[in-house]
Amino acid sequence: MQEILSVCNLKKQFKLSYKQQKLQHTDKKVLTAVDGLSFTACKGEIFGLLGPNGAGKTTTLRMLATLITPDSGDAYIEGYSVVKQPDKVRSRIGFLTGELKLEDFFTPNYLFNFFSELYGVPADVRARRKNELFSRFGIDRFAEVKLANLSTGMKQKVSLVISVVNDPEFIIFDEPTNGLDVLTAKTVTDFLLELKAQGKTIILSTHIFSLVEKICDRVGIIIDGRLAALDTVSAMTKEKGLEDVFFDIYAQTAGGVQ
């Protein structure tokens, strides 16, 4: 199997302001969000990052998407370093996370065209993909409605479509089904499987066990910024459900759940 992502000893600390220290009831000046993370993902697989709140999933994905730079370590996507060649990485990936918003003032149609321009997608390719994706998600019905007037689910569909506007081979999804009803969530997971069928590689973060069991090929469990376990989903869930496996691992690493 061809390796498309390799993460090497990734580290990220955040300096805490006095206010943040008080909010988090700590007197530590720095918070280690990601602490020496290493793993690889192969072409055509869906790799899940599973972890509790604050484990460092989003921080890891933001580093992979070149939004923030690691303090040490590096990650290579299709052989390009996120630290040294961020532009190359950016044009090859798609990234979906709640942090990235679309301007309320514009319509899905305008935004699709706008981001196609930013990625340098040729006009004919753009028209074809827009057609495909908009009808696939039913966006054509509200393609000319300003985002401000769309529901959360509709907006998430637009964000999803725009995150793959450049037809990337490597796609990073941070909690893609968060805040969606079961129907919309299913549209999203179906789309992920469809992308996988097209040979794309997907890395997604979540704390929803069933989502991992349903669509992921391999899963890495992150606790406190460290990788606590890494295996194929089928191997990990051989004896018991993923939830129980997680509790066992959590008990070993973090000293039990109260």
Partner: protein
Amino acid sequence: MKGAFRGMAAIIKKEFARFFFDRRMLITTLILPGLLIYVVYTLMGSFVTNIAGDGNYSVAVKNMPGSMEPMFAAVEQFEISDADRDDDYYKSQVTEGGLDIYVIFPEDFDEIIAFAGTSGYVAPEVQIYYSSSADGSTAAYSAFAAVLDAYEQAISNVFNVNTGGNYDLSATSAATYILSAIVPMVLIVLLFSGCMAVAPESIAGEKERGTFATMLVTPVKRSHIAIGKIISLSCISLLSGLSSFLGLMLSLPNLMSGVFDGVDLAMFGAADYLMILGVMLSTVLLLVAMISCISALAKSVKEANSYIAPLNIIVVVVSLLSSFLGNPSAPLYLIPIYNSAMIVTDIMALAVSPLNFIIAIASNIVYAALLVFLLTRMFKSERIMFNR
């Protein structure tokens, strides 16, 4: 390499679309400023005119001195008739309102004042009859008295002046003075508020709403984002500034009509207006770049506005300075904002030095370019763009 600039072009297009398709934004930053300034200044002008009297005054003059005739003739507001009937008739006319004022000069006024300054000279008396219960009459009285005062000062001057010409000349130079003192400051303040209306919203606002991050995950060069933003925001701010400027220039004749006999905007040629446009453009570039850099530091539009407030004060003070310091030397035209105000002052006074003009414009553009470079660095900085 057309492809390399596609992202920049898209960003410029998006900023324009954001602005021109938003009716509220269009009205508040493009139409309203010019309209408001025009209306306010015109109202102020008509207020001044009202104090001075509304339009024309009917004046009957007995024994109009030959030396003064051309002077009053130059003031359009006075409709002067020769008084050939007896005093009582005109006095009753003033009481009844048929006449605003009735003026009596001594018969040999010109001969008497020719001896002004010699021993035994008795100042002649000019009588102005008016009606204090009528606004027009009171206004006509003060206007007429003001002209006499001006004349009195002119003749007691040590220099011999052509009195008819003197009045005209003083009106023009006073108008020019007001133009060169007020216009630069108002213009720069207007440009600043034009920039304030769009730049913090587009930089700090996008940061605050999380749409900036979406742009940062795309492969568009950070320098292209910075240049694209500065170019589009400058264009929009310039339009807003032009709208205000138009309102200002159009209202000037109305504003000053109460004081002067009409200010002729035609005294500025196409070259002058082109130069003003050039100064405005370079000033806007610099202002937008400054405001954008400060906005990039802020987490929200509100925070950006509070950071920019001190800059606003500095800009007002610096642009005011230009009307106090006369004849600055060329190196002073390197001082940003001050140089723009100075050039506008020079243009208004019809005395621009091409060298100073070029120094001012070029230095502004260089400063703006340096700030664009700084802005690019800021867009690359995780601490600035993602600090919470």
